[in-house]
């Protein structure tokens, strides 16, 4: 229906992924990411959610022996970001990531956010200052840290650290942002603030989020994909998948019979 009326920001085409030990972790995944939408990836532990997510910023390239097969095409430029000729660094400049456990650098709050800009050769203090402030505001952290930007990032609470990591990912104006269980290490209040943040970020960019929390998927996402044992079982609008799943396996998972 109106799925087609959305602009596709990226899509995986017959994507297979093999870990260096030969494990076939993704099996022919075809799935779109719609622009300015939040897509949630759900499924039982070990089904390949993180593996799929990490294909989008070529994180698997960091470890030797991993192999992609198939395509992830980004629009509007139609680049297959998995192609041999495409530099993973270019991909990571366009697609940023927030990890499960907050992983700030052992540097100041300011330097953490500025790092992506520095990596891109940013030198102008004024420009960086502005970008850092924007990103921290975007991550709803500015008011809490504006007086101590030079403090070590480790001195923040877990939820603040995660928002700092979001700010770091945000500072470079990515087109897509990946979240791998961004709230699983956080308490409910910090979780709520991150979820709120994600729905706000949707206006600026496209989001793919892995979550173990069914309510979270239902609350924040526009689309939901259910994965099982490396297969994409079902992909549709979140409302549809939670109310009338087409596949028996999806239904079983959502109603708590597997997983």
């Amino acid at each position: 229906m109106d799925q087609v009326s959305h602009v596709t920001k990226a899509e995986s085409r017959n994507l297979n992924f093999y870990y260096s030990n030969g494990a076939h972790a993704l099996k022919g995944i075809n799935m779109p990411l719609y622009e300015n939408k939040i897509t949630a990836l759900i499924g039982p532990s070990g089904c390949g959610k993180s593996t799929f997510l990490r294909c989008f910023n070529r994180m698997h390239d960091l470890y030797p022996g991993n192999r992609y097969d198939g395509q992830i095409v980004m629009h509007p430029d139609n680049t297959n970001i998995l192609a041999d000729g495409v530099d993973p660094i270019e991909v990571r400049m366009r697609i940023s990531m927030v990890f499960q456990k907050p992983n700030p650098f052992p540097k100041s709050i300011y330097e953490n956010v500025a790092y992506g800009l520095r990596v891109r050769g940013g030198k102008n203090k004024k420009v960086i200052d502005d970008k850092v402030e924007q990103a921290l505001r975007g991550a709803a952290l500015w008011d809490e840290v504006k007086d101590r930007l030079n403090d070590l990032a480790f001195n923040l609470s877990g939820g603040q650290q995660q928002r700092l990591c979001i700010a770091r990912a945000l500072a470079t104006d990515p087109e897509i942002m990946l979240f791998d269980e961004p709230t699983s290490a956080l308490d409910p209040i910090a979780t709520a603030s991150i979820e709120e943040l994600m729905t706000e970020l949707r206006n600026k960019l496209t989001i793919l989020v892995v979550t173990h929390n069914m309510q979270q998927a239902a609350r924040v996402s526009d689309y939901t994909a259910y994965m099982y044992l490396g297969d994409l079982v079902e992909f549709s609008k979140t409302d549809d998948i939670f109310i009338k799943p087409k596949d028996k396996r999806t239904e079983d998972y959502i109603t708590g019979r597997i997983g």
Binding site: M59, P64, I89, S96, V119, F154, T172
Partner: protein
Amino acid sequence: MENQNLTSTATANTSLMQNLQEVRDMIRRHKRKDIIFASVGLLALVLALLTLLTLFSDLVIDGYPKFNPDFLTEFPSRRAAHAGILSAWVGSLLVMLVTFLTAVPMGVAAGLYLEEYAPKNWLSDLIEINVSNLAGVPSIVYGLLALGLFVYGLDLGQSILTAGLTLGLLILPIVIVSTREAIRAIPASIREAAYAVGATKWQVVKDHVLKYSQGGIMTGVIIGMSRALGETAPIITIGALTFIAFLPPAPISTTAPFINFEWLSSGFTVLPIQMFNWLSRPDHAFQVNAAATGAIIILVTLLMNGVAIWLRYKIRKNIKW
């Protein structure tokens, strides 16, 4: 009925108390082992420290008459009372300088390459095993190698350069291994965080890997340097002189070109060799000089290790993972 209940509660209570008593006894038994182990450990520590302290104070007491500034500013002499260690400590300093300048860049670069850049395969495994083994090769073997390679092969002579390179080679494995260890201690999540914002490998290395591992690297470097300071065998093997009554040409001068490298090819002696030389003299007066030199070597070594510990503490303080 009530009575019965009471008695059953009472038995339950007694058995609970019994249980509790057993648990307490068990904990007491376990704690006894704790105490035994702690005492054994403490004893070992005290013994080691006592030995070191005895050795050190022995040297200090024997060498006490020589603890004056003249000892540092006099050349060795046939008259023990006038003999000093000027040429020896200057020699040690210059040799250490060469050692530092060769072993640190080479060792850090090699460790970094092996850990961050080299493909992980059987060849890198082989290299890893070999590097670790090199750290255990007796130092005299390095002396022989240097004699063949630097003195005769490259014709560098029995010079400060030769000695510095030899000791550099000797501590290279220590620097490489400690570099790799320090790098390995950095969690993958930090690396991934840096890559995820689009950093190149070199940016990750220079902004993160080197930064967070520098404490560990410096500790390794200092431990290597303090080992090099005390090394005698390889320096004797390459033919260091034992009696030097001159200083090498100064590396820095007040006239152009301000820096010269003649000192590199100068003959030299170092502290442990000076000490060895004095020890082998029959005259008791020279034993005093030897003891004083020994005390100084130990003192410098302790100082260097102290700096290593302090550095590690200071750098680790801001890093939590």
